[in-house]
Symmetry: D2
Subunit: 356 residues, 4 copies
């Protein structure tokens, strides 16, 4: 069912396994005559790239993207854009531990149950390596959206430790390896994650992404609401277990008076909203305010502690994960979340052009 594709107008399809020769993405529906070279994409891949700090997996990947089609003289042509990223660090590993056993909390078991076969090397298709393709697609989506739209994300919770929003500083996000919008939280989390790492354990995280410059009117009721598409996008990210827009789950506890964002006449005829509980979306359509989304990521299941499980023959056994691993996969989910939001919005923008 084309389950490796995302989007309807601006649509991308990813392929590739963790330990195959490469991963890649084909982007269809990108308008013509947009500037696009590798230099528009590589910086976003560099941001997601592992091995940059002690707090992410030590896999070393150059993550060099190459454009194989869809551009001419540095401009898009309207033809599908094929991007490829070679896998350079598929070290020969001993897979005997996970080849026949299912890691609790991992897709090992469900892939086996669904397909009766799985590429166990590095997680195969279910590896977070696939998210490099999302980031590449997101970079192209940003070209579609243009400069008036800004998309940026931050880590707002690591394990149980929530960032202090009173000291939120977007400029800080790129100053630390954890995409923290608060310098103190960055230090605290780094220390915390080192402990987690030493213990061979892992923790989850919450990521928040904002999009500014979205005009009112994007998104389509009823079943392709802007928030519905965002929820789908974020929940498709590896390890995601929850998504919320604006005040999200907290809005359940609010009254109508508190929750409904009041409006005043603005200088350019557009309304000024006095709050943004809606997270920029009402009735599935953008309001013109910032779109605000948060998503929760569970802790990775690849941990050093032995855990009870079964093997492919259905027999009781134990499993643990050897070697390099991420103490908090949520960190690298920040650029991935940005990319997915960019793709949803590029799609919505094109759709609105058709209907407007």
């Amino acid at each position: 069912m084309a389950s490796n594709s995302f989007g309807s107008f601006f649509r991308f399809t990813t392929w590739g396994e963790s330990h195959g020769p490469a991963v890649g993405v084909v982007i269809d529906g990108c308008p013509a005559r947009l500037p696009l070279t590798e230099t528009h994409i590589q910086p976003f891949l560099d941001k997601r790239r592992p091995g940059q700090s002690s707090l992410t997996t030590q896999r070393q990947e150059a993550d060099q993207v190459r454009i194989l089609s869809g551009t001419f003289d540095g401009l898009t042509t309207g033809a599908p854009i094929s991007l490829i990223i070679e896998n350079t660090d598929q070290r020969s590993k001993d897979y005997s531990e996970i080849k026949d056993k299912f890691r609790p909390g991992h897709a090992d078991y469900t892939y086996q149950a669904k397909y009766g076969i799985r590429d166990y090397r590095g997680g195969g298709r279910s590896s977070a390596r696939e998210t490099a393709c999302r980031v590449a697609a997101g970079a192209v989506a940003r070209q579609v959206l243009g400069d008036s739209v800004g998309i940026r994300g931050a880590l707002v919770q690591v394990g149980a430790h929530i960032v202090d929003r009173a000291e939120w500083n977007w400029d800080e996000v790129n100053n630390n390896a954890l995409f923290s919008p608060n310098a103190k939280a960055a230090v605290f989390w780094a220390n915390y994650l080192e402990e987690v790492c030493k213990a061979g354990s892992s923790v989850g995280a919450v990521v928040e992404v904002h999009a500014s410059g979205i005009p009112a009117g994007w998104g389509d009721p009823m079943y392709e609401k802007l928030d519905s598409e965002i929820a789908r996008a974020m929940m498709s990210i590896n390890a995601a277990k929850g998504v919320e827009i604006g005040s999200g789950f907290a809005s359940a506890g609010l009254t109508g008076e508190m929750n409904g964002d009041e409006m005043r006449s603005g200088p350019d005829g557009k309304p000024v909203f006095l709050s943004n509980h809606a997270g920029g979306i009402l009735g599935g359509i953008s309001t013109g305010q910032d779109v605000v989304v948060r998503f929760a990521l569970k802790p990775t299941s690849s941990i050093l502690t032995p855990r009870r499980t079964i093997d492919v023959q259905g027999q009781d056994t134990e499993v643990f994960t050897k070697g390099r691993h991420d103490p908090c996969v949520g960190i690298r989910a920040v650029p991935v979340g940005e990319a997915m939001l960019a793709c949803v919005l590029a799609d919505a923008m094109l759709r609105q052009k058709a209907m407007g």
Copy 2:
């Protein structure tokens, strides 16, 4: 973009406005030879129907469903199933208050921004009346899923008041008008909502839905993950602002040891899981455990308190909602959430049949 349709294999399309002659749904992709008459659908509509207690809108609708196509001798034929529900209580109302003003927190403004026109009578297309069609489609989806799959929902939070899970009782859910799984919470919430109603205010809610009997292997990585489709489905429900699967946002605060559900060999060769933080889904594919989803609903924006807003000319003004209204739209979202989950699962079941 077919935004009024949902599903790929089992696919439904809804139509109709709050104050038009009728609302309806066309279901395409329903397998042939399933028993289907109005009696399979009506009970679910009756459950969603307004006017049943003082805690939901006093609109009186018979909500009688009629099958216009797709069955023969009480069996589905594989042809599209057209269901119609007439609107019988479109009382003539004074719309002068909302005709030209945007209710804060309502889709009034965004529909106007997107389309340049809106049917303001009773909310038009953005009315919760549309959810009757979802419930009807969900009833058909249950026929597709068959008796081995059970889907049931409950209200787990009203305003800030969360249900005590220690005394959860599924049998209780149908004993009270609030779909509470806890008799004491039902009484507490009812009293609380009467106060909210008297104050002309509104509050949000959280709904939880479980599906049992789902075999391992349903759902499609990468962008049509089972949880991704569920997130999309639930976020498409009017007033929804957040969705989570299994431990959801709480899983961010867990360690890998706590979160990964351990497995033991079960009596029939299938694994027994020792917990269900995953909510029945790993890597986007069902595990065989119960699928567990929660979604948050914001308080309705139709309240008696005057609020600051602008009118269609962009001028500052105030607005309030006269007449009948729901103090907590979350209550009626319980059968709607069940229906949406049933539709997602029926679709996943058919897809898996093709691939298995």
Copy 3:
């Protein structure tokens, strides 16, 4: 698989059986603020309506269309447009002859093979009655396309008798019951069909449809080429067995010099083409010339002559069709072909707006 829907942006879904209470169509993706009332649709239905001459089926249907949703004050709102046409002439008939037997050349057998059940009354879902819904959708598509686009069809072959193109007159098409562009052919065909009718036989036909006013640039390579979508549309019409664009099959016999339409600079900067072998489409994209399509319809299988067949138990038997029938179903396919072309073009127009 949503096989009862057509189009991606401008998308319609039909439902209903020949002898059910009604047939209908839901149109999703129609832009807002277009004038739309029943008066925009009814004339096209009247053109397709049976019982208007002795040469089409004597079924008497009022074919009155009713708009159930999607408009407000005579304008479209962007919400799905639900149209319903009641079946008023489902006379009680004796179905014993076809209930258990398969008419050679009819979908009786394949529906039974696919679904294991079929609504045999009047052909059920496979009845040409479904085409009323296409015509209604086509009328809405014309509103989307606007006045600058003209779509008109004609019958160009009845049985083996091909129209003389030298005397083609579009004005003549509406002067005769056969949609003939040539008055003499209209008389000849009418006499011929009366003989066919008396003999209890049937013949096929070829329909030609032109669209003018289509700018260059509509249509999407590679698999959603404008001609590809048109081919799909026309081949989906009951009894269609072939489709061709421009010179079509005849172009196989041409040389490159004969076939390639030369261009000269035109008065408004657009090219003037010196011929139109391409039928207005090159590389799947419109050239700005008239789009020209022809499709062939087989003779109806409902004839009075007994034919060898099997019954639902697989036993040899004979079958013939009693009562009213169309000697040439191709006649009524003219407005249906126009409607399908209108829908394809409305979809292409909206898509191009998004990408242009």
Copy 4:
């Protein structure tokens, strides 16, 4: 709108330009555990490969396919299958003649009109080179269909010269470079095409493809009829201008008695049909007979004769095509047509599995 993808369940997406580094295809929705290595694909590419006789373009391409993802230990895994074919013969050419001029009958003009930019080198995206990807996808589709389904094509018309069906011999097809099912026609056509080639001209062709072993019941009414999908598929092939099923356009001239294929009880309970005017499809659903499709290809527009045209500035000029070219692009369309039919049928097979 994902216009570079084809299929819904078995879905492929192609990318690449004639003179880019490579062309490729990503296949999504291929069931797991099917044998698949390059050896299953390469023979079909070799059949389509240019430069094999003096009658096809002299471009020399190795057309070596490489599988980049989706298999493990020689079996498909259910993950997307990425295939890449490098372009090895993009000789440096002088494009001054076509860079700024539109070849009559070519997509040059329409791509420019649609996108405002085009990769003119070798036709860019509109080059027949893209069909290598279709052939590769078709080879995978054959693995899905399995050995019980046979798909084979032949050339049945070159220019105005139609094959004599009385001496049809499928075994002959692979004995000549023209895929002729008749040895005498092969010789005649070869001589004829040499003359065409010497004259710097080109001619069209008609291709016929048969699929055997298709059970009754595949295909989905109403708008995704099996013949509708086939028509779409064939019309998407470069240069295609017409498609017909079974007796096709000739059925317009038949009577109901002649056209309806009579049935007799067969040895295994399935009917034996006494003819196949239907081409194996009734009501959009397969009958169990061979599926028979023909499609017409226009002559290539790349000819040596100077022709009147305009340039990108809209000025009158002349154009002709230098260098290697195909006198009859229809020849290489035979394996392409086979591939497209295989893909349509693989999709239909999976869909029927879901619904059966």
